[in-house]
């Protein structure tokens, strides 16, 4: 039976350079502290890009207690598993399952989905083949013998892009509908939309949506720099002096379920999912349309899906990645859809960098926090809005939200554009 009822968010978790909890990240954002600082993972002194928002000072066991698992997964997976665990814990669903009649537990598990937006592999995985390449000295004939005796037997499993999906399933015994979306930047936010769609269609009663990524990697930074996407020092969304994005790392997760289920078990509701839109501009890997066509189409689809008008949107979390082309086309798209009724707009990447596949979903958790507080945080790095879009309602300081509805935008390679609409919950988030 398809479920046309409301879908609510009963748990959320996030980790990034700005903190290990949504409250800590929010506190940094609202107090104008950025986690973007000198890149320390390797000696970057001779690099053209020397900044990032790394997750530092956190023991891996704080993220994932099970030390045996650390050898089977990558750093990005630690973030994803951690954020998902926080969202599930926060939702109280595990305790609820424990209270169920044992006969109902299997059904509960089969009706619990896991949808992940994964950043996929990083280049570093392949360096495990360096010893084999060194020993064959350019003659690949002996490569197989060398690689099969020097590479860790678990290499493939360790590098599966769907490891967070697998291990969240195993750890929480969620066995229902699932997907691992490998759609670069929009993956995490798409996970939210797909989780909600699965619940709406009656394929699951609840699903955890996760997005995780770790682009702070030498080759990734080199390539992004080479194609002109990285700033040497700071991320300044919509500023006239903006000169590129800055990488962060981390994950976000939200637990979605049917509103009637949340109500009947008396759990706190952190937010409500309203709708989403997702389209490609068909512009190839790196290009964006200057007119913002894809984003405005995604927003129109999301508004239709949510059955609300543009006027009902009380705040917008823009993608705002700080690159010349993306911010300019995003501003045009927002202007085209919202016109004079554009609500306060902000963007969060200045505070913890661009989290790529995790960016949209972490933005979503903070949008819910902003709705809860009715405050749209300012963009601390904004000095002077680009005169090309002076009408854009971005400010260095915070603004009041116009209503209890937020829109989160997310854009990525492949001409991808997404918008998700959420409404404030009925209770505050407690990390």
């Amino acid at each position: 039976m398809s479920c046309s009822g409301r879908i609510v968010i009963t748990g959320a978790g996030a980790v990034c350079g700005a903190g290990l909890t949504i409250d800590a990240i929010w506190d940094a954002i609202i107090n104008r502290r950025t986690a973007i600082t000198t890149l320390r993972r390797w000696d970057s002194s001779s690099w053209p890009v020397r900044v990032a928002a790394e997750v530092t000072g956190v023991d891996n066991r704080t993220l994932v207690e099970d030390r045996k698992l650390h050898k089977l997964i990558l750093r990005t997976d630690l973030f994803g598993i951690y954020a998902a665990g926080e969202a599930i814990r926060h939702s109280g669903l595990a305790a609820y399952r424990d209270s169920l009649d044992p006969a109902l537990v299997a059904q509960f598990n089969d009706r619990s989905g896991v949808i992940v937006g994964s950043g996929g592999g990083v280049y570093q995985n392949n360096y495990d083949f360096f010893p084999a390449l060194s020993s064959v000295k350019g003659d690949l004939k002996d490569f197989g013998a060398q690689s099969c005796s020097t590479v860790n037997p678990m290499w493939l499993l360790r590098n599966l892009p769907n490891n967070v999906l697998c291990h969240v399933g195993i750890r929480h015994n969620f066995k229902g509908t699932n997907a691992c979306i490998t759609n670069q930047c929009v993956g995490g936010l798409m996970a939210v939309a797909e989780a909600a769609a699965a619940i709406r269609a009656g394929e699951a009663d609840r699903a955890v949506a996760v997005g995780h990524d770790n682009p702070i990697d030498p080759e990734t930074i080199l390539h992004y720099h080479q194609v002109g996407l990285l700033s040497p020092d700071a991320l300044r969304p919509f500023d006239r002096r903006r000169d590129g994005t800055v990488f962060g790392e981390g994950a976000g997760a939200v637990m979605l379920e049917k509103a009637e289920d949340a109500q009947s078990r008396g759990t706190a509701v952190f937010g409500e999912y309203l709708g989403s839109g997702c389209v490609t501009e068909a512009t190839g890997a790196l290009d964006v349309r200057p007119d913002g066509d894809g984003l405005s189409r995604a927003i129109e689809i999301a508004l239709d899906d949510a059955e609300i008008t543009a006027e009902a949107v009380g705040m917008i979390v823009a993608h705002g990645n700080g690159t010349r082309a993306s911010d300019a086309s995003e501003a045009l798209a927002l202007g085209r859809v919202f016109g004079r009724s554009i609500p306060p707009v902000t963007a969060f990447k200045w505070g913890f960098g661009h989290l790529i596949a995790a960016s949209g979903i972490v933005d979503l958790t903070l949008a819910l926090k902003a709705l809860e507080q009715r405050v749209v945080p300012g963009i601390a790095t904004l000095q002077s809005v680009d005169p090309e879009f002076r009408w854009l309602t971005v400010l260095p300081n915070s603004q009041p939200a116009r209503s209890d509805v937020a829109m989160v935008c997310c854009r990525g390679f492949g001409g991808m554009n997404m918008a998700v609409l959420v409404r404030a919950g009925t209770s505050a988030h407690r990390s």
């Binding site: 690099w47 697998c166 066995k175 997907a179 691992c180 759609n183 490609t280 492949g414």
Partner: protein, 443 residues
Amino acid sequence: MTPRRRAAITGIGMVTPVGNDAPATWANVCVGHGGVAAIRSFDASTFPVRIGAEVKHFDAAARIRDRKLLKHASRSQRFALAAAAEAFADAGIRPEPHNAHRWGFIAGAGMMLVTLDELRTVHSFCERDGEFNPEGLVNPEYPVDPVAFCRTQTNSGLALLTHHFGIRGYATAVHTACASGGQALGMALKVVRRGLADFMLAGGYDSMLNPIGLTAFCLLGALSADNEMPERASRPFDATRNGFVLGEGAGFLVIEEWEAARKRGARIYAELAGDGNSLSSYRITDSHPSGDGPIQAMQQAMGDAGLAPRDIDYVNAHGTSTLMNDRSECAALGVVMRERAGKILVSSTKSCMGHLIAAAGAVEAGICALAIREGVAPMNAHYENPDPDCDVNLVLGQSRPGRIRAALSNSLGFGGSNSCLAFRHPEEVEGLPQPGLRNSEQP
């Protein structure tokens, strides 16, 4: 409530180890002509496994005329471009400016994004004492290649195909290892049902048949090491099976909203009628020997399609030819099909094609659509020794002609994702009530 939209399969394209298009692949699968042989595309002589199911004589330049596009496409993406072009031509429809926004795209994309040659470049600049030293990358001599960079992005195939074919609606890429292709098609069905698109290009592509991919699977002990008899190495369900054979390729389907396809007089191979999707949550590489995980996927797919075991005539099994997969999958078939289990024809076309990993589920969905259209259940090749743990009604000796009213296709992946797709003969769709509610017969 509004009736649920149906999805019609109207175009099929394939590049596989047994054929560089769908007709050739289908013909070889039907006669059990295998594609497994000694690996030729690189020197595999010092690997413990030296056999694979390679795509052969694939002339990318003849299939993809756009030279610039070819430069941007990896080996597996070239397969994808060719298979997608074939699917469009077969369907007789493709995105046009007036409906491009109503076309969607979903692909199960392989996980290997960096080639060994590219890695060797990094190695030559950055290796120090066996470790990676990032300093080498900022050497002014380092040959930074933005085209190679684009190829390494997880959605690079999406970027290439949506751009080349002008698809401007919903788009995504997914990866759940060997379940990727099946899950991509399941998502495509849901996107059509949700009304987000009227037309979908959906499928999968992969190639791990290279020194890195082969190493990875050799290390896991997942591959058959029958180097001396490659033609029989992939023998799903045979008691002597000893691993899968690594393959490569692509499969894409054109899927259209049913009524629109009917209106334009499209040839409909089959209805993509249901999707089942579960997580084993057991181990990374296996599902439970009881079939837990695959059971739920099959039950959901049938329930979603409004089908009961009595309606199913053919199952295209995941059937990798590994000990654990085949046993768990057969256990699941027994549980799901109950007394009907002995009557349902089962085969794994991996017996011919090998395992196409992220492309497998998509190609096998195409095989199911062709099986329904042609009225032939393709054979399970290379089977000799019955395994009491694999007690299913295999199509043995030769392919079996006969009407297939409905078929299932399983794809079970590393990481525990299980996909089952249900297909229905187009003539079985006529006269059915519009589905709205889920089938009450769902077990």
